[in-house]
Symmetry: C2
Subunit: 466 residues, 2 copies
């Protein structure tokens, strides 16, 4: 392409004095009395726009340049020069300004240059990426995703695309969405009068996945180090700022790794991607620190520079009991900790990310490895100050007899898990893994309060616009 991105211009990829062309959208226009206009041109390639200084000697100065408003698209050509004003290193002395697209009725342009509430922006999901805040979120989200793939690649992991449509609810991790092509006006019936899913597209009832874990274990037991990174779904009617019906998950699965090794790997992974954000997206992070959450940067720096604390669930419960704190939900051994407990541990007691390990078996899934005490399983949660649980994982039960005992204890039918059991019948190995909610990670890094603002088109109860 014959034009240069604003990011490349501002970071000195072109030399002062060079002829350059930039294409983008007007953020603001300011006219001086001396007959010069200053255009802030943004193309989304980085946080900042570049300034174009437009003299009134241009042919279309009166007719077009002075009519430019926020959101108009332009091509500007001219000379790149060092900027004398503060803030930016370079600006463009414009020699030509071509208008590509006007804004119809600028007064009613939904993204006009004023402060909009985040709730207002949510009503315009198709335009909100043009704002500072959602643009910055998008670049951070991309940076985290790129860094995540890069990290796994460098560590010798293979990305596995586990299925989105699944016919088993093995994990029982949550309410599921049904996927079907049956004609609802004309449902096929069995002789007993039930819906006949053998007539459906997949020949049986099918759902959207809640996790790729069980599937990806089959690949860990062949390629050793693997991960998923894809969308997962929960049909829970929770209308909160922390839940989405459709969200992206990262799920590494590591053969030959025990719980402690996996916890150490999770720590390494989080630090790696936070480092990437701080070094690659300083511009956006400075915006978040300025406007969204004062300690956005220092919080990540602290996260990177500290070792994670480690604590057994049993000890964590004692810490909570001995804290003297009145919690809304009472604390006793055996409870599934709620957010207030998790945040107390991370924010007030340890004042650092903390890995809580070895949870009571009765609050955990069937596939987690039984500890020798017969009461707890090798599960872990990583809790972080400011957000609570960010990662949940476990060592998987690799011993067939224990796995079968758990299935039976939980009234699950071993036949439904025959392929999962095969992994334990044929060359079983210790293995562990965890799940990270990618969207929640983006809220953590940016300090955004509502998870609906860190994904382009959020899905939630009664919300599937666009």
């Amino acid at each position: 392409m014959t034009h240069t991105s604003v990011a490349d211009l501002l970071t000195g990829k072109r030399q002062s004095g060079e002829q350059v062309t930039v294409k983008g959208w007007i953020r603001t226009r300011r006219d001086s009395k001396a007959g010069i206009s200053f255009l802030a041109i943004h193309d989304g390639s980085c946080f900042h726009p570049i300034q174009a200084v437009v003299p009134n000697s241009l042919d279309n100065y009166q007719d077009e340049v002075t009519r430019l408003t926020t959101g108009c698209s332009v091509t500007v050509s001219g000379t790149l020069v060092e900027s004398l004003g503060e803030g930016q290193a370079f600006e463009i002395q414009a020699e030509q300004v071509d208008v590509l697209g006007w804004v119809e009725n600028p007064d009613s342009y939904p993204m006009a240059a004023k402060r909009h509430s985040i709730e207002y922006l949510r009503e315009y999901s198709h335009l909100r990426a043009r704002t500072n805040v959602i643009g910055a979120v998008t670049r951070i989200r991309n940076c985290l995703s790129q860094a995540m793939h890069r990290f796994f690649h460098e560590q010798g992991y293979y990305w596995i695309s586990t299925p989105i449509i699944t016919a088993n609810d093995c994990e029982g991790a949550g309410e599921m969405f049904r996927v079907s092509t049956l004609d609802l006006a004309n449902l096929p019936r069995t002789e007993q009068g039930d819906v006949d899913f053998s007539e459906d597209f997949f020949g049986k009832e099918a759902f959207l996945t809640v996790s790729g874990q069980l599937n990806v274990e089959t690949y860990a037991c062949a390629l050793s180090k693997v991960y998923t990174f894809g969308p997962t779904f929960r049909a829970e009617k929770s209308n909160t700022s922390r839940h989405l019906a459709e969200f992206w998950m990262v799920e590494p699965e590591i053969a030959f790794a025990d719980l402690d090794e996996t916890a150490a790997f999770a720590e390494k992974m989080l630090k790696y991607v936070f480092n990437a954000v701080l070094s690659e997206r300083r511009d956006d992070m400075e915006f978040f620190a300025q406007r969204i959450q004062k300690d956005a940067i220092t919080r990540l720096e602290n996260f990177i520079n500290k070792d994670f604390a480690q604590v057994d669930y049993t000890d964590a419960i004692n810490i909570l009991i001995q804290s003297g704190r009145q919690f809304e939900y009472p604390v006793e051994w055996g409870i599934d900790m709620s957010s207030e407990h998790e945040r107390y541990l991370a924010e007030e007691h340890f004042k650092s990310p903390v890995v809580v390990k070895n949870y009571p078996k009765d609050i955990k899934a069937f596939y987690m490895r039984m500890n020798d005490d017969g009461k707890t399983v090798a599960a872990m949660d990583v809790l972080a100050p400011g957000i609570g649980e960010i990662i949940g994982g476990s060592q998987r039960e690799e011993r067939l007899d224990r796995l079968d005992a758990r299935l039976s204890e939980m009234n699950l039918n071993p036949e439904d898990y025959s392929w999962y059991r095969d992994l334990r019948r044929y060359g079983t190995v210790p293995h562990s893994g965890f799940g990270l909610g990618f969207d929640r990670l983006v809220t953590y890094v940016t300090g955004m309060q509502n998870i609906r603002d860190v994904i382009p088109f959020p899905r939630a109860p009664r919300l599937a616009d666009y």
Copy 2:
């Protein structure tokens, strides 16, 4: 972790003479008359296993080592030494062999060490990653995915997670799957007796996406260079070796780019990822060249070294007519080319990848940019020898009046597209993009004949196992 991957051992990341530990699965065991066993140990980190030479002086030699069969999992520690045999650079002089998991009834182990048909392997999707062929496919798939993300990142593109669940079938690109939580035994009804989707999870009828394009255009019109990489769905009952109901798509969308620039970008992208495969996964590619498709490597090399041919649709039709070839489907201006036509062009006429441009408007979607002739639109397909269409794209109609004319011509309701039209009302820009079927790309690179063998758990009519 305290062990080293086979890939690191074979590529000299450790020195000859070092003490090393490897963990993996037995591929084969061979016993010499001199009382030594040779174990081929595979961990999926690369194509080849490493050989461990086990002396009968080990305590568990008789009881365990000589009972090891294909698929058993082991930990082997010993000294890394340069291999005297041909083929491999290094092997391990074993000092300890620990068995982690036996194979239950080795005679009936589904992945026993013999040649299995690819159809047979498909019956064991949870175990087939342990074979040479599916292991190699998996590493190639990962390599292509990593290279794809890296390429876009280096080119200044941002990854956008467009929604999987959607309430509009804007593109009309194909049959869709319904996503619902309604109780089929008890469907809510409107007063008119229709199914009342206002009671459904999303408050309206919802589907699985067929493409992220329309959604991602909103981000291209804010961040300039963006792409999607995620699953898409077609509920078509086509039971072929080229179609999946659930498949992964890569969809770049480029503001300020016309059709030719986008075609050039597609060429650059394909060459980049093929280069990555050839340089990073030579081991797996050699296997494909040996066992699956003789020219697997030379084909990619040719692809990389040749410029893509460029031809207008109208000229391509003339070439087909003048070829004198009897095609199954007759050729005339206006047809949607079928696979035989596409392959003739790429394989016999141009003998190289070819970009066909400017298709008749009547066989293309509403959003493609009308050419000045009023008959064709700025659409393109990239056809490759050996596979036919691999990429389809277009310049998008950025002019509101033309877009509206097309919507009306195709009896589409402009209100359903109000957000899409907004992009043309507010600072519209020329922009273009394309879609690449990622799974089809993997079949192309590996030479695998059936697309069901390049994704871990394929989904197709009556197929949603695991």
